[in-house]
Structures are given as C-alpha cells and as structure tokens.
C-alpha cells in the first residue's frame, strides 16, 4: 500500500516536468518541422495554405536551389570559411590553453585575462573597427578576411573551454612525459591533445555550429554575391528584391542538414566534454 501511494505521488510529481518537456519540444521542434515541410512546397502552395503538408513533395526544389539559386556557391563558401576557421581556432586555441594551463610564466595572468576578456565583448562593438582594419589590409569583402575575423572572435571561448579541461590533467603525467624524452611540443601534441580529446571535440562542434550560422560579421564584411555564406544567401530570398518563402525554406534545410549530421555524431562526446569542464 505504502509503495503504491508513493508510486502515485512520484507520477504526479512528474506531470509538470513532462508537460514542460512536451512544450519545449513543440516550441523548438515545431518551427523546424514547419520549415522542413515548406522546403518541399512551392511558394504558391505555401501562400495558399501556410501549414499544409508537403504533398506532393517537390524534391526537385533542392536541385533548383543548388543549381539555379546559387546555393551551391553559398554552401561551398560557408564550408571553406567555417572549416578553415574552426581548424585554425582549434589548433591555436589549444596551444594557448595548454600553455596557460601548464606553464607558469611572467605575464601569464595578464595574457589569460586579455584572452578571456574577449568573452564579454559584444560582437557589435567590433564591427566598425574590423571593417576599417580589413579595408586597410585589403581583406575587406574576401573570405580570407572573414576567416581571420572568425578565428579572432572565437579564440576566447575556445581557450576557455579547453583550458578548464587541460588543467585537470594530472601534472605527474607531464613530468613523466618530460623524463621519457618528449619535447614541449610533443607533450602538447601527444599527451594534452589525445587526453583532452573530449574537450577538443566540444570546442570543434560548438565553434562549427556557431560559425555556420554566423550572420552579423558576414553581412557587414562581404558584399559580392559570389562570396556570400549560407546565412546571407538565405536572407537574400526574403529581402527587398523578392519574397520567395519556398526557396528560402529549401535553403534553410540545406544549411541545417550539416549541423544535424555533426550534432548526431558528436553530441555525446560534446556533452561529456562540457560537463567534465564544469565539475572542476
């Protein structure tokens, strides 16, 4: 009897939680399913019945988007910028995090403070200065310039994530490596990096998702159509020139798919990395 009563109470206690999770799923998943449905419907169909189902499904819209609407170019621009920026920010950030976590050197505290202060700077604050600097060094309206801006603006978060994890690796391991004959760089590359892999995956995934969706810097620092990244390309379809909701939805799906794939592969390692960093 007593257990039954407690069981009942447990279930009642869970109702608000389940309701909350349901509501949250609806709020986050709903718009996604809606866009997914719209991506398979023509703009005319969408205006007739905004919430209709994709029947018949116009799969050819993805081909059109890729070939006729320049999404192919936007996609490769995004891939180029994000892959290079994430690779650079990971390697540079990991080196910085390793040094800050492992070595006591003069000015270390100051360097640490300066790098992490980048975390609190709102990106809007940097726009004007970045615009001027990129103009001066002839990198305005280039993908290279955007890569540099992405690396610079995301180094702070990368160092923050990695340093917390690297600092937890026992010092004895590094002393042993030094006696075994590893050089300083090998200690970083062969000890810190493999052991810190969960944190590195976290940083890579987070940076990839954030940069893949980045809009503000891209819209200010790129002007040519052939140089646009995906978020800008999508905006173009709902801009002042045209209102092609259907094509914008198809573009959104093209942009979202890589993120879903990456998240599906890395989410578990990523959560491990995030919580490991948190319970210091």
């Amino acid at each position: 009897m007593a257990t039954q009563a407690r069981f009942g109470f447990e279930q009642v206690r869970r109702v608000p939680l389940v309701l909350f999770v349901l509501l949250y799923t609806l709020v986050t998943g709903g718009p996604f399913l809606w866009v997914a449905a719209m991506s398979l419907r023509t703009t005319a169909e969408i205006f007739k019945a905004p919430y209709g189902l994709p029947a018949p499904a116009h799969w050819e819209k993805f081909v059109d988007a890729w070939t006729k609407s320049n999404y192919g170019t936007y996609f490769w621009n995004s891939t180029f910028v994000v892959v290079i920026a994430v690779a650079l920010v990971t390697v540079i950030g990991a080196m910085a995090a390793h040094c800050l976590a492992r070595y006591n050197f003069r000015g270390g505290r100051l360097v640490h403070f300066l790098i992490l202060s980048g975390l609190v700077l709102p990106p809007q604050l940097l726009i004007l200065a970045l615009f001027q600097i990129l103009l001066d060094i002839n990198l305005y309206n280039t993908l290279t310039g955007l890569v540099l801006v992405y690396v610079a603006t995301h180094i702070a978060m990368t160092v923050y994530i990695l340093e917390g994890f690297f600092a937890q690796i026992p010092q004895d391991l590094f002393d042993a490596a030094r006696m075994d004959g590893y050089s300083d760089f090998e200690i970083f590359w062969r000890v810190t990096m493999p052991i810190g892999a969960p944190a590195v995956f976290t940083a890579v995934t987070l940076n990839f998702i954030i940069l893949w969706n980045e809009f503000l810097f891209a819209v200010v620092l790129l002007t040519d159509d052939e140089k646009r990244t995906l978020p800008l390309g999508i905006m173009h379809f709902t801009g002042s020139h045209q209102l092609d909701v259907g094509m914008a939805a198809t573009g959104l799906m093209i942009a979202i798919l890589p993120i879903i794939v990456i998240y599906a592969f890395f989410s578990e390692t990523m959560i491990k990395g995030m919580t490991a960093g948190a319970v210091r």
Partner: protein, 116 residues
C-alpha cells in the same frame, strides 16, 4: 648503476615564503638503496624532482658519477621515477607506455648520429 651526489641543495619556489629545501647534502653509492623519510611538506618530493631535472635548482649541485647535472635536461639524465599518481598515458597501450622512454632515446641517438 651510478653514484648520485647532492651538495648544499636549495630550492625556493617563486612566491614561496620559506625555502622548500635548504642546504641538503648526501651521497647515494652505487647499488645503495636509499630512503628519504620526513613529515609531509618537508621537501622530499622537491629534492627528488631536482635530481630528476623536473624542477630548476636554486643553489647547490646535483651530480651523477661526478658530472654536475644542474643544466642537463631531464630526458638526458637517464633517470627513472615513479610518481605519486600512476602517470600512465591513458590513450596508449601497455606496450606503448613501457616503450616510450626507449623509443625517445633511440630517436635521439639516430638524430645525433645523423647530425655528426
């Protein structure tokens, strides 16, 4: 094997108020089994780390077979050390863990023979 001589060894950590090790001298003969005993925090680990080359020496000397080792990097001192925590490389196999010092020495020697 070899003779280890520690002479007037001192260590002051940067920011440390008192010296962690002051004026330690002893000799460990060939094949001698030597034990350092003392309360926690008296500087045993610091002495060992200075002998191994993991910690810079503030003053005094560490010599192995009569050769002063103060400026010799840890990897060239040919010393083995067991740490308080196990210090095994978790991403390597048992074989790789054991073979690493030898592999590093081999690589170093092949470099030396190539450059000379």
């Amino acid at each position: 094997m070899a003779v280890i001589t520690v002479d007037k060894l001192c260590k002051r950590y940067t920011g440390g108020a008192a010296p962690a090790v002051s004026d330690v001298s002893f000799t460990v003969a060939d094949r001698e089994f030597m034990v350092l005993l003392g309360p926690s925090g008296c500087g045993k680990s610091t002495v060992l780390r200075m002998i191994a080359g993991l910690e810079p020496i503030t003053s005094g000397t560490v010599s192995i077979d009569g050769r002063i080792m103060n400026q010799v990097p840890a990897k060239l001192r040919d010393i083995a050390m067991v740490f308080q925590s196990y210090a095994l490389y978790p991403h390597m196999t048992v074989y790789e863990n054991l073979a690493l010092p030898g592999a590093c020495t081999l690589r170093r020697e092949s470099w030396d023979s190539r450059s000379s």
